[in-house]
Symmetry: C2
């Protein structure tokens, strides 16, 4: 009877139903772990992972800005969360919002200069965190992991 790594990790004697189950559980536990690792890097600057993601999306959008829901669709969330997330970013002056004159239903969002400065200061520590989190994998392993994950997402949409 050979016990898997994960099984021992969660002190569960019941065997996995299938490879698929073991992989899904591993996926969730691994992601929770790395998410917390990144969270710790970011919390030093008073920012959360989701807020960081939004700022990066807005930086990518440049001067033209982005409507609220477009930001939401580039993350994975449903809409309602985005409004409040951006409320907090605006409160910290990392984001500026303005009702769009052409279509008054939309609210356009831009990253501010201080938001850009924040992202700059996080560039290096975050790159380090990425590398450290996967330092045990070879380049080939990382590429393979990327391909496997791409495949999972491609099919479940």
């Amino acid at each position: 009877m050979n016990e898997s790594v994960l099984q021992r990790e969660i002190r569960q004697n019941r065997p996995f139903r299938s490879l698929a189950q073991e992989a899904m559980l591993g996926l969730m536990r691994t992601t929770d772990l790395v998410r917390r690792t990144f969270g710790r890097v970011l919390e030093r600057q008073g920012i959360t992972l989701q807020q960081y993601n939004v700022l990066r999306i807005l930086r990518g959008a440049g001067d033209s800005g982005l409507p609220t829901l477009e930001i939401g669709s580039r993350m994975i969330e449903e809409s309602p969360g985005i409004t409040r997330l951006i409320d907090r970013l605006e409160a910290k002056a990392w984001v500026r919002r303005e009702r769009c004159p052409h279509d008054r239903r939309q609210v356009l969002c831009w990253i501010t200069a201080s938001g850009l400065a924040l992202l700059d200061s996080l560039e290096e520590p975050m790159a380090e965190a990425d590398d450290r989190a996967l330092s045990m994998l070879s380049a080939e392993d990382k590429s393979h992991l990327i391909r496997l994950l791409d495949a999972i997402r491609a099919d479940s949409r």
Copy 2:
């Protein structure tokens, strides 16, 4: 210039800093996706993914039950969340709690008969969800994914 799958997915023109960054982002997006898939299966029974995990842990513990924080440590969370999570499970009568007579600081938790029945009824739909989520991967792919994830967790602890 060849654009990665993920890059197109998030409509971001900036290239990834590294393979590690691309893999991390892929990990988070993929997990969010599958988490929501499972969530939809479970919500039909009025239960969340975390509650489901706790019930499974308690089923594994059997008649001797488990102290509150021990449950927490088998999940990934910090302690405070567990108390309230179990409050909700107790409210739905899927879990029973009792202060431990030998060490009155501890609160032991057991899954109830109706909790067990709930798990039984979820066994099949959850197994199906696992398989469907990874149906595009061969057995070899799944094993490889499991190994890669195990390796990541083993080193970041």
